[in-house]
Each structure stands twice: as structure tokens, then as C-alpha cells.
Amino acid sequence: MLATAPALRDETTVSSRRARVARRSYRGLFAWLYLLPVLTYLVVFYAYPLYRNAELSLRDYTVRSFVSGDAPFIGFDNFRTMLDDPTFVPAVVHTTVFTFVSIGFQYAIGLALAVFFNRSFRLSGTLRALFLVPWLLPLIVSASTWSWMLNSESGVVNSALTAFGMPQINWLTSPTWSLTAVIIANIWIGIPFNLVILYSGLQAIPDDVFEAAALDGASGWRTFRHITLPLLRPVSAITLLLGFVYTLKVFDIIWIMTRGGPSNSSTTMSTWSYELGFGSLLPHFGPAAAVGNMLILVALVFGLVYIRYEKVQASR
């Protein structure tokens, strides 16, 4: 290749206008050819599935028409079915409560631990590593362990409660407690993620700011309130946004622990979507896709809010 390069230059100097034009269109072609792999990837793995999901939610799919592919277009009827379903309002309420309560606790506990570990002390590395365990375990393991611990009759949590003279709680089998039970498990699983990101955010804050504050006689709380928190704002924003998107679509923990039950008391939008699509012997593809699309839209809205927030921050 290198050997041909000088020859190429000679050729260029004598080439006609037509050849240059041809070369330019070659270039354009090459540009597209190099883009082809990534475009193919985007179309096959992102655009097409999204398009199919939108299409599923706008057609009346039964098992028969799913196979024959002639499902009639019904506009927004699936969305109407979804809105009219008695499960809709509880599912929205549960999703909202589940998401915001989980994130609130995960962030608060994660931040507290990050601040705690930011002052390096002996064994702090080991301890921090231990806090990562929930993140490393496969979800099926942690969710099964939680459901075993929260078992009404033989769970360790209830044994502990009765040992302290408190009444036994039907964590997973009572409609009043099942949502709480899955939220507790989800908070535990989400803490490490918050801890890791917030900790690295703290590490990025220069030490001299804290030194200056200490010299000015700022108390621990005031340092945290007026220095740590404001300097951590960008990191916090991305942690909360990512946490929001993750938590919104949490499915496995709830499904393994309660199947969204008893009688839908811990059903969220994601478990409902799965239940509609695959939970019974007869799949309801249309409404399931409609619920899934709702979730995507909500996540998208929050993503846009985040981008807007970034722009405002950058322009300041």
C-alpha cells in the first residue's frame, strides 16, 4: 500500500476533473460503507424491535392472527383496553411508589455510605467491597433469598420479629405488605450502584475545598450541606436518572418474590406487561405491547428532562 502512495499522488496531479468527481462519489460511498455496520446494528437491534412493538400495540393480535400475520389495524384500542382495565390504576400507583421510594432510599443510603467511606480508614476498602455484594449476586439468587427470608411461617425476618415480641407479618402473602416487601429487597439491591457512583463523584472533589471549609470552622453538617451536595449535583443527577430508568423497569425481583400478587397488590407496569404477554396460557400481545410502550414513553420523558437539565447547567 505504502509503495503505491507516490504513484497515486502523480496520478492525482494529472487526473482530469471527471476523475476527481468520480473519486468524490467513491468517498461518499465509502463513508456509507463504513457506516453500514453500525447502521445495520441500530436498525436490527433498536429501530426494528421498537417499530414491531409499536405495531403490536396498534393491531388486534390474537394467537391466530399473530401466526397468519393479518391482524387488523385497530388504532389505539389496545391502549383504551389498558386504560379501562381494573389493573391499570393500581399498576400505575404501585410503579410510582415502587420507583420513587426505592430511589429515595437507595440514594440517601448510598450517599451516606459514600461520605462515610470517603474518609479512608483501615479496612475501608474491604468494607466497601462487601457493600458491593448485592450488585454482584445474580438477581434470581437475591430475590429467592429475600422471598425465603420474608416467608410468613419459616422466614428469619418473622422469627426475629416474634423474638422481640412483635406480631408476625405476612410479607409476601398479604396485599397490604407485598409491595413493601419487594421495595425493601429492591432498595438493598440498588444501594451498591448509588454507593459506587457517588463515591467516585466524591473522590473527584478536590481536598483543598474541604480543607478551606475546615479552616473557616464549618461543621460537618454544614460542609456536607454547602460543599459536598452542591459539588456532587451533576453526579447525583445522572445517578438518579439512571436509577429511575432501572427501577421503572424492574421485573425479576417482583416476579420471583410475589408474581405481582397476591391479587395484583404488587403489580407494576412491567410485571403487568409480562403477565399480559406471557403470564397465562393465552397471550394478549396487543395490550402487553401497549403497556410496554407506555413504560418506554415515561422513561423517554425523564431522559429528555435530564438532557434539558444538562443544557441548563452547561449554559450557566
Partner: protein, 417 residues
């Protein structure tokens, strides 16, 4: 040769390779049935991922293919995945030649036009027990044959029952069962455990009590149906059953029973192997009906069926493979491996001759009833969904049994065809 031309060739090669990959993706899809001229390769899907190439089951499948003069490419899927995988494959015209699938799914697939009838296949179904093949009958046409059946009965902890002074033979109807449970509770143990979870598994476990009350799936709000729900609700209220039944799968119910503190567990034929490992004496009785006698339990177990193929010529070998798999000698091996009861009477007798402990299960399978029988077909899943929601509401106390079953009947009636 100039530089750009070299690059062009390179790009063209890359492009061709890419196109080739995509074409391969488009036509492959894991199915060899569509490969041109490859009619001697048959695809076979089953829900037994626990078996690999060295197992008796897979060897049998392959040898049946060989004797039909074709090679069989077998894939094991998770049971819950198989329905959607099959529907998807059928949509793309790449359905496997044969599937082994959970019996209530047959009517759904048949309704979708995915399966051929046994008539089209030229398969003789007369030797199979009629109450078992019924699950695969839709509008008078048969869409597959059972490969093995299982059903539910009550396992009991003989040591615990003896301590409480309960004779298992005395449990003949609901009253005598309740009396036995009360005695067990009096001795400080739990009476019974089962799976009352809000999924198809819960409905499966509820049906023996539902049918045993005399109720019919076409009317969930009948007084008989409500009495079946109240039976479960009362067990919880009186402390005969642990609260965990609301969330139990059949496996967790079995684990509770294995711990040795529960008198009875409602569970299936498939636990026979695990029962041998129990640290206490145990036995099996059939589930009693309200007024006495054995209640009809739902049939579990899989069917072999043949999805529709574009090329009718393929059915001939398919029929041979199905006949081979359901040949009495082969059924005996298969159903012993799977811990199932054979769907053919002569094989059942052989099974009992080999293992007398199977007798109560053969009787139970004889009394059993398919969930999609009575021509319920694809209406069954709709009714079942409402039913499990109703007994869950009643057991958690968020509605009375009457109100819950009334609401379930109204919702089901609005949705069935």
C-alpha cells in the same frame, strides 16, 4: 493498481460478507426444515432441557427418526418459553416438524392454525385413554396425542397422622378431611399445604376442589364453586394451612411438606422420585370430592403434535416418528424416565406391575380431566385467569368468596367467545 480501487474491492468484499451474514440470519433461525432439499432433516422441540444427548429420551428421539429414515435435530426449551417460541416460528413459516408441549397449550396452538390434525397426519389415536386425548380435541378434531400424563393427589405424612390419631383411609369427603386437619392442628402441626399462587399453577391446584364440589368452569359464581373457594379460605382462617400457600408454587409446597411438620400436601405424580427421599413414612390418597369419592383432578403432562408444514410430504415421516415415540415399549421407558403415567392402558398395567406404588396414580389419572376438555379450548385460559384472581382475593381477605367469584364470572363471561 490504484489505491481507491483496492479500497473499493475491500469494501465490496466487506459488503458481500455482511450481506451474506444477514442472509444467513434471515434464513437460518435455528430451523433446518426450510433448508432446500434437506427434507431428510426433521426439527423436534421439547420442554425437557434437563435431558442432553446422552439421555435415554434424546437417544429414543434420534432412533425414532432413524427408523423413519430421517435425521432428527432435537432442541430442549424451557416449558414457559416453548409456546411463544412455537408461535413465533410458525409466524415465520419455520415451525418445527414435531413439538412436545404442555397439554392445555394444544388448543391454543390449534386455534392459531399452527397444528395439523391427527387425521391429516394419518395417526391412529384409538389406543389412547379418551379422558387424556380430550385435552387435544377442539371442535371434534384431534391435534396431538399424549406422551404421558400426571395429575394431583394428596401425599400424607404417615408418622404425623399416626401421632394425631388420623387414619388416612378415613378421608373420604371434605368433612372427613376437615376433621383430620382439625386433629392435626390440635397436635400443633399444620394440616395441609398446597400452591394457591396467582398463576396457572394455582388454578391447576384449585381445580380438583372446584370440580370436586360439582362446579363447572362455565359458571364460576355457582354456590358449588363458591364452596370450593371457601374450603381454601377456611383452611387459612382456621390455621389448617400455612399462610404461605398464597404465594407457594408446587415446589415450595413440597418443600414445606418435606420439612415434616405438615400432614398433607397436594402435589403431583412428578414428586414420586423425591418422595422416596423423605425422612418419614408417607402415602398417597386421591383428593376427595365434596360429597365423597375421588374428585376429578386436572391432567398434566405433554402432548406430541405436528405443526403445519408447507410441504405435505413431510407428514409421512412425522407420523412414523410419533408412532414410534408412543409405541408401548418406548412409552414405558419414557414415562418411567419422566415419572409420568402412560396414556395407554396396557402400558399403565406394566407400570403398576413394575412398581405397585403407582397404583393410586393410575387410578387418579383415570379419573382426571383435561383443563381444556368440554370443548372449552382457548376459553379455558380466560376463565382460569379470572379464577386464580378470585381465590387469591378471597384467601387474602380483600373480598368475600361470593363477591370474588361473582366478579370473576362477570369478567370471564365478557371475554369468552
Amino acid at each position: 493498481m490504484s489505491h481507491p480501487r483496492l479500497r473499493l474491492i475491500g469494501a465490496a468484499v466487506t459488503g458481500l460478507a455482511l450481506a451474506g451474514t444477514m442472509a444467513a440470519c434471515g434464513s437460518g433461525g435455528g430451523s433446518s426444515s426450510s433448508s432446500a432439499g434437506g427434507s431428510s432433516s426433521y426439527t423436534f422441540w421439547d420442554p425437557y432441557p434437563q435431558f442432553d444427548g446422552t439421555s435415554d429420551w434424546v437417544k429414543l428421539v434420534e432412533s425414532c427418526g432413524k427408523s423413519a429414515g430421517v435425521s432428527v435435530k432435537r432442541t430442549g426449551f424451557d416449558t414457559s418459553d416453548l409456546t411463544s417460541k412455537t408461535l413465533l416460528a410458525a409466524q415465520q413459516g419455520k415451525a418445527p416438524d414435531l413439538i412436545v408441549i404442555d397439554n392445555p397449550v394444544i388448543s391454543t396452538l390449534a386455534d392459531a392454525g399452527v397444528l395439523t390434525t391427527t387425521d391429516d397426519l394419518g395417526l391412529d389415536t384409538s389406543s389412547f385413554a379418551e379422558n387424556l386425548t380430550a385435552a387435544g380435541v377442539l371442535d371434534g378434531k384431534t391435534y396431538g396425542v399424549p406422551i404421558g400424563a400426571n395429575t394431583l393427589a394428596l401425599y400424607y405424612n404417615a408418622d404425623l397422622l399416626q401421632k394425631a390419631g388420623v387414619d388416612p383411609a378415613s378421608v373420604k369427603d371434605w368433612d372427613s378431611l376437615n376433621a383430620a386437619l382439625a386433629q392435626l392442628k390440635g397436635k400443633g402441626s399444620k394440616g395441609i399445604t398446597f400452591s394457591g399462587i396467582g398463576t396457572e399453577e394455582g388454578s391447576f391446584q384449585f381445580l380438583p376442589w372446584f370440580w370436586g364440589s360439582g362446579a363447572n368452569l362455565k359458571d364460576l359464581s355457582s354456590s358449588d364453586a363458591v364452596s370450593a373457594v371457601n374450603l381454601w379460605v377456611d383452611w387459612l382462617k382456621k390455621g389448617y394451612a400455612p399462610n404461605s400457600v398464597i404465594n407457594n408454587t408446587q415446589t415450595t409446597a413440597w418443600q414445606e411438606f418435606s420439612a415434616g411438620d405438615v400432614g398433607f400436601v397436594e402435589n403431583g405424580t412428578w414428586q414420586m422420585g423425591n418422595a422416596q427421599k423423605l425422612p418419614f413414612k408417607w402415602g398417597v390418597i386421591s383428593i376427595p370430592a365434596k360429597a365423597g369419592g375421588a374428585a376429578p383432578a386436572p391432567t398434566g403432562g405433554e402432548f406430541v403434535a405436528a405443526p403445519v408444514q408447507k410441504d405435505n410430504g413431510r407428514y409421512k415421516a412425522t407420523e412414523k416418528i410419533v408412532s414410534c415415540l408412543t409405541d408401548p415399549a418406548n412409552l414405558l421407558t419414557t414415562d418411567t424416565t419422566l415419572s409420568y403415567i402412560a396414556p395407554i392402558e396396557s402400558v399403565q398395567q406394566q407400570q403398576v406391575a413394575n412398581d405397585a406404588a403407582l397404583q393410586p396414580w393410575v387410578t387418579a389419572v383415570g379419573d382426571a380431566k383435561g383443563r381444556t376438555s368440554d370443548n372449552l379450548g382457548t376459553n379455558y385460559p380466560i376463565i382460569s385467569e379470572q379464577m386464580w384472581d378470585a381465590f387469591q382475593k378471597a384467601m387474602t381477605g380483600s373480598a368475600s368468596a361470593e363477591a370474588a367469584m361473582k366478579a370473576a364470572q362477570d369478567a370471564a363471561a365478557a371475554k369468552v367467545k
